[in-house]
Point group: C2
Chain length 337, copies 2
Amino acid sequence: MTIYDIAEKAGVSASTVSRVINDKPGVGEKTRRKIRKLLEEYHYTPDIAARGLVMQSSRIIGILIEDIRVSHHTDAIYRIEQDMSEHGYTCITLSTGAEPEKKQAYIRILEQRKVEGVIMIGSMFGEDSLKEEILQHLADTPVVLVNGDMDLPNVYCVIADEERGTEECVSYLVRKGYRQISYMKDAESPSNNRKLSGYRTGILKNGLKEQIFQAPGKDTNPQDSVDRGYAAAQEILNLYPGTDAILCGTDMLGVGCMHYLREAGREIPGDIAVMGVDNTIFGKIVTPTLSTLDNKLEESCQNAVRILLEAIDGRSSSRKVILPTEIIGRESTAVSS
Amino acid sequence: MTIYDIAEKAGVSASTVSRVINDKPGVGEKTRRKIRKLLEEYHYTPDIAARGLVMQSSRIIGILIEDIRVSHHTDAIYRIEQDMSEHGYTCITLSTGAEPEKKQAYIRILEQRKVEGVIMIGSMFGEDSLKEEILQHLADTPVVLVNGDMDLPNVYCVIADEERGTEECVSYLVRKGYRQISYMKDAESPSNNRKLSGYRTGILKNGLKEQIFQAPGKDTNPQDSVDRGYAAAQEILNLYPGTDAILCGTDMLGVGCMHYLREAGREIPGDIAVMGVDNTIFGKIVTPTLSTLDNKLEESCQNAVRILLEAIDGRSSSRKVILPTEIIGRESTAVSS
DNA sequence: CTGTTAGCGCATTCAC
DNA sequence: GTGAATGCGCTAACAG
């Protein structure tokens, strides 16, 4: 079914049908009604790609993310998709994995699809190799980086102040009475480095001693973080036997950490406290419930959508937005009195 | 950058450029090289939509799902997306929500995008109202229903035998020594009814008494299931005080159920056993770990991809595939001896 | 080996 | 109020 088919059946020209479809003036009431009826009858739906070709607009938004299975990310994608959908856009979501080459390949795919805007979630998208790729393949497409940083005229950034957040986590733990606070760092990334940096500042300000351990390996599957947290907790207790609190780079690491501590016979939070980052569902369902730093990913994404829509419409907006984080206190850090 | 721009710069015609881009024969080696160089130099990438218009193929696959935030679903989407990506397809994933009207609207969107194939995940997509919609708007597009059932020439079905599965769960619990086995049913759906039916058969075969309770309400957010499971567990213990095992329709309900039992001072699995369905990450991280019925969603999706690709290529394949489920025994059902 | 022509489905001038 | 013509970026059939 094309507009020509409908036009023929109605005994009019294609342009008249087009006018009716797009509710444009210049069509007699009776012709309009007749065409509307035919449209209904034959279940006609316009071909968006063809329309896009002439209108130079795909109505497609691209979303890039390392792994959509990270539940934290999934919630973000969901929000973006729902919001964009309401504005008439369709989203293409691509899980790129960690390698820069794959990320570049996916940027090419978005270019081919002529997306009107892009949202990239994760600090790893701030890499220099991607900056180059964006410059060459998405130079005049608005891009919003969530939790990432990049200096390019068409790139906007929304980040949560995790550095300040982890710093406050340390003070929070200190107020709860903990003194030997270790940090379990996740894989190398700008975001994870910012969190670590915040921890260091917090330790310094409170006159304590740094105890840092990077959980080795990386995730093939997001669930792997649990095992990595488990293993890392063991190492931390070996390295720093006096540890009475572990601040983990993510909730998932925190969950693994708690598993180990339980098996090792340590009571949480009596003997030792555990805290995560991300405020995921996992923290709510484990026993005891896990205190965490909410880095406002969903709010970040809502901002990203707003900024992207503004940029697409040509309305300028602030190139960089920074959101405050929030500590969510739960059982894993409550002092047993 | 269009092929015409490149053609002009190379001093050839657009068709020659097109031939080079698509690695077609009939171009001299030197012209080919020259064009390749220009293509590189100007970072040319073809417009897939324009190509699709003439080739009558969008290279897009549509995925419909009620809520992508259900972690169980996310894993499924991830697999499909990765596999399809390898075959040169781009996926559009839409969270439709529960209302049939919205599902219909999303089917329309897929039609407009001229998707070459569709995968719908969830038994609710087997509804009659959607059958009508598919008939009218997706009549000659291959559709694969995962965990759903529909009789239409272009619709293929992949389902896990959950009915047999829950039946076996009952027997499994009986073998572990439990005798008053209650069933916590999730919201109304064909899939949930099949699970309930399996439970009933299992109870009957083992000469036990049915104890069924439907968790009221429904999820706005997948996390809500935890609270619903919590509330339902309380009701079940009121209605059937002698209950010594609760089989829950999903892991999420199971998690909420465990939370309540713990608060009520019941020991799991000593006093009472809990079992879920879905084999999600949640079952692995809760304390004690949750036994569950693996309904093989990921395997189902791999089958769905295979079937869809075959159907798109015109190779016919079986219209219905049924997969066996598997019981995953964990701490929540181990008899304390 | 290469160029010309036509057309995919649609929206948009410009005539009438 | 309506139709004919044009072009979006691309591939394919045909001509040379």
